[in-house]
C-alpha cells in the first residue's frame, strides 16, 4: 500500500520534473491563450464597447437623434453589452474563459506525452513495475493536472495586469474547478492515447474533439445566447461547467443556463472527473505492449 503511494508520488515528481526542464513546452502552452487574448480580446473588445460606436452614421437622418441624447443610446448599448457578457467587459469575459481553456488544452498534451513514452520506451518501465498500475497512471494524471493548473494560474496573473474586473480572492477557488476539469480531461486523453501508437492518429482524434468542445463551452461567447442545439451540446460538455465556475469566482459572472450555479457545476465536474479518471485507471491496468 505504501509502495503504491510512493509510486503515485514518483510519477507526480516525474511529470513535474520533466515539465520544469522543458521550458519550450511551458512557453508554447502560455503563448497560445495569450494570442487569443490579444487578438480576440482586444479586437472584439472594441466591437463590444458602446464608446466606439459611430452613432451619427448609424442613426443617420433619423428623427431619433432629435429626441434622444446620443449619450443615452451609448449608455443603453453599454448596459446591453455588459449584460450579455454577464456584467463584465469582453476582455474580462474572454480572459477568464481562457484560464480554463489553457488547462483544457494542456490536458490533451498529457495524452501526447503518453505516446512519446511509448515511442521512447519509458512506458514499458512503468508497465513492468510491481506497483499498482492504477496508482501509477493516477500519479501521472495528477502530476499533469498540477502542471495545467499552474499554467492557468499564470494566465490569470497576466489577466490581473490587463483587466481590473478580476477578484484576486476568487483565484484559489477558481483553480479548484480548473484542477478538477483537468483531472477528467487528462484521464480522457490518457485513455485515448493508450489505444494509439502514432502521434498522427491521436492528434486527429484530439483535434476532432477539442475544437467543438472549446467553442461550445462558453469560452468565447456566452452560453445563454447560443442557438438551442448548441446549448444542448454545451450542457453535455464538462468544460462548460469549469468555464462557468472559473468566471463566477474570478469575476462574478453569472451568465449561465437555469440550473447552473457554482455548487452544481462543481458537483458535475467532480462526477465527470471520477468517471474518466477511473476509466483511465482501468485501461492502463489492461494495457500490454501489443496495443
Amino acid at each position: 500500500m505504501s509502495r503504491d503511494l510512493d509510486a503515485l508520488i514518483a510519477l507526480i515528481y516525474r511529470q513535474l520534473k520533466r515539465w520544469a526542464v522543458s521550458r519550450s513546452r511551458i512557453i508554447s502552452i502560455i503563448i497560445q491563450p495569450l494570442l487569443w487574448i490579444i487578438f480576440l480580446g482586444l479586437g472584439f473588445g472594441t466591437v463590444f464597447s458602446a464608446q466606439n460606436i459611430e452613432l451619427s452614421s448609424t442613426i443617420n437622418n433619423s428623427t431619433i437623434t432629435k429626441y434622444i441624447d446620443p449619450s443615452i443610446i451609448r449608455s443603453i448599448l453599454s448596459k446591453y453589452f455588459t449584460a450579455i457578457f454577464g456584467g463584465v467587459d469582453y476582455i474580462t469575459f474572454l480572459i477568464t474563459g481562457m484560464a480554463a481553456m489553457t488547462a483544457f488544452i494542456g490536458s490533451f498534451i498529457s495524452g501526447i506525452s503518453v505516446i512519446w513514452d511509448k515511442q521512447f520506451g519509458f512506458l514499458k518501465e512503468t508497465l513492468v513495475a510491481p506497483a499498482s498500475r492504477k496508482t501509477i497512471i493516477l500519479g501521472r494524471i495528477i502530476g499533469d493536472s498540477i502542471i495545467n493548473t499552474v499554467q492557468s494560474l499564470i494566465i490569470i496573473l497576466l489577466a490581473l495586469l490587463i483587466t481590473h474586473q478580476i477578484n484576486p480572492l476568487g483565484i484559489p477557488i477558481a483553480l479548484l474547478y480548473i484542477f478538477m476539469m483537468s483531472l477528467g480531461f487528462t484521464g480522457l486523453g490518457v485513455t485515448i492515447s493508450l489505444k494509439f501508437s502514432s502521434m498522427e492518429g491521436f492528434q486527429m482524434i484530439v483535434n476532432l474533439l477539442t475544437m467543438p468542445l472549446m467553442f461550445m463551452s462558453g469560452v468565447f461567447y456566452p452560453i445563454n445566447t447560443m442557438p438551442d442545439w448548441m446549448k444542448v451540446i454545451a450542457i453535455m460538455n464538462p468544460l462548460t461547467y469549469c468555464v462557468y465556475g472559473t468566471r463566477y469566482w474570478l469575476a462574478g459572472v453569472k451568465a449561465s443556463l437555469g440550473f447552473m450555479n457554482p455548487v452544481t457545476s462543481l458537483i458535475i465536474l467532480m462526477l465527470f472527473t471520477a468517471i474518466f479518471a477511473t476509466i483511465a485507471m482501468f485501461s492502463f491496468e489492461k494495457t500490454t505492449i501489443e496495443d
Binding site: L11, R18, G121, F122, V128, A131, T288, I289
Partner: protein, 332 residues
C-alpha cells in the same frame, strides 16, 4: 514444482494477427545460471522475454517465474524480475539519478537506503560522475550501463537482458560482459539473456537455447551443442548428385545435404580425409565447386539444424564482430 527452477516455460505460443512469433517452446531456467536465447532476427526472442516479463499475454501455454503464473500473478512476477529491454526505456529528459530514483520508488525503496543503493550502482557501472546529467547527453554505451544499473536497483531474483550489447562498440561490449561476469560471481544471480551474437552466448551462458522461427531447435551447454557435430565439419558444394556422393563417403560419421547441392560432412580429422574426398569425386565424375572445413562453432550447429548460416542472417562474420563497431539497425 522443484524450487531450483526459477523460470518454467511450457508449450508457449504467441500469435500476433498473422504471425506466429513463438511456436510452442518449453524450457526451464535454474537458479544461479546464465541462460541465453540465441537466434537470428525475428526468431521470437523478444516476444518470449516480454511474456516472461508480463508485458504480453501468451496465446497458449504456461509460464511461471518463481512459483507464480505470469498471467495470474503478474505483480508477484514483476517484483522478482529486473529487465533491460532491447529498445531504450530511459527518460531522456531526466538525469541518471532521477531515472534511478523513480525506478526505486516504483519498487518500494525509499530514503537513505535508496540513495545509497543508487550511488553504489552508478559507481558499479562507472557512471557516478554523470549522476546529475540528463540522459539525453549520454552515449549509447552509457545508456545501456544505466539501464543495467537501474534493473539491479531492487535486487531482482531474475535479471533479464534483451540484447544487452546491441549497437555498442567493442569496449562497451567488453565492459558489459564484465558486469555480467561480476554479477554471476559475486551475487550468483540468475540471468536470462537474448543475443544474436554467437560469441556473446558462448562467452556468457551456462546453457543456450537456439531459437529459429519461433521454435527452440537445440538446447544445452556450448559443449553439448558442439558435440552434435563432432570434431571437424567439411562443407562441399557440388556439381552433380549430392545424395549419391554422400553414399560413397563411407568414412564420414554423418553426411547431410544442406541447401542446394551443399553437403555437410562430420569427420574426426578433416585434413586427412580431404584428398580422399577429391579422389572419390574424380573417379565418380562429380565436380566440386567449393570446399571448406571448420571446427564447429555455434554457427555450424545452427547451419546443421537449419541449413542456413547463423552469421549470414547477421550479415557479418564472427571475426569482424570482434573488431568493428556494431551499428545494427533496430528491429522496429
Amino acid at each position: 514444482m522443484p524450487m531450483d527452477e526459477i523460470v518454467i516455460v511450457e508449450n508457449l505460443v504467441k500469435k500476433f494477427k498473422d504471425v506466429t512469433a513463438v511456436d510452442g517452446i518449453s524450457f526451464t531456467i535454474k537458479k544461479g545460471e546464465i541462460f541465453a536465447l540465441l537466434g537470428p532476427n525475428g526468431a521470437g526472442k523478444t516476444t518470449t522475454i516480454h511474456i516472461i516479463a508480463t508485458l504480453l499475454r501468451p496465446t497458449s501455454g504456461r509460464v511461471f517465474v518463481g512459483k507464480y503464473d505470469v498471467t495470474k500473478d503478474p505483480n508477484k512476477v514483476r517484483e522478482k524480475i529486473g529487465i533491460v529491454f532491447q529498445d531504450p526505456s530511459l527518460d531522456n529528459q531526466l538525469t541518471a539519478y532521477d531515472n534511478m530514483y523513480i525506478h526505486g520508488k516504483l519498487y518500494g525503496l525509499r530514503g537513505r537506503e535508496l540513495h545509497e543503493k543508487i550511488m553504489k550502482l552508478l559507481e558499479f557501472v562507472d557512471l557516478k560522475e554523470y549522476a546529475y546529467k540528463q540522459v539525453r547527453y549520454f552515449s549509447g554505451g552509457m545508456r545501456r550501463r544505466l539501464e543495467i544499473a537501474r534493473s539491479l536497483l531492487h535486487e531482482p531474483e531474475l535479471l533479464i537482458l534483451d540484447e544487452p550489447t546491441i549497437g555498442l562498440d567493442p569496449q562497451s561490449r567488453a565492459k558489459i560482459w564484465d558486469y555480467i561476469h561480476m554479477l554471476k560471481k559475486e551475487h550468483d544471480m540468475t540471468i536470462l539473456l537474448t543475443t544474436h551474437y554467437m560469441d556473446e552466448a558462448e562467452e556468457l551462458a551456462n546453457r543456450i537455447a537456439i531459437m529459429d522461427h519461433g521454435k527452440i531447435i537445440a538446447l544445452g551447454t556450448v559443449e553439448q551443442l558442439k558435440a552434435m557435430l563432432g570434431k571437424d565439419v567439411i562443407y562441399l558444394t557440388l556439381d552433380g548428385n549430392a545424395k549419391e556422393f554422400c553414399e560413397k563417403l563411407i568414412f564420414a560419421k554423418d553426411c547431410n545435404i544442406i541447401g542446394n547441392n551443399r553437403i555437410e560432412l562430420l569427420v574426426d580429422n578433416a585434413p586427412r580425409y580431404l584428398p580422399e574426398i577429391f579422389r572419390i569425386a574424380l573417379t565418380n565424375g562429380i565436380g566440386i565447386r567449393e570446399v571448406s572445413y571448420r571446427r564447429p562453432t555455434l554457427n555450424e550447429v545452427f547451419l546443421h539444424l537449419t541449413g542456413r548460416e547463423l552469421r549470414e542472417s547477421l550479415e557479418e562474420t564472427p571475426s569482424i564482430i570482434q573488431k568493428l563497431p556494431l551499428r545494427w539497425r533496430r528491429s522496429r
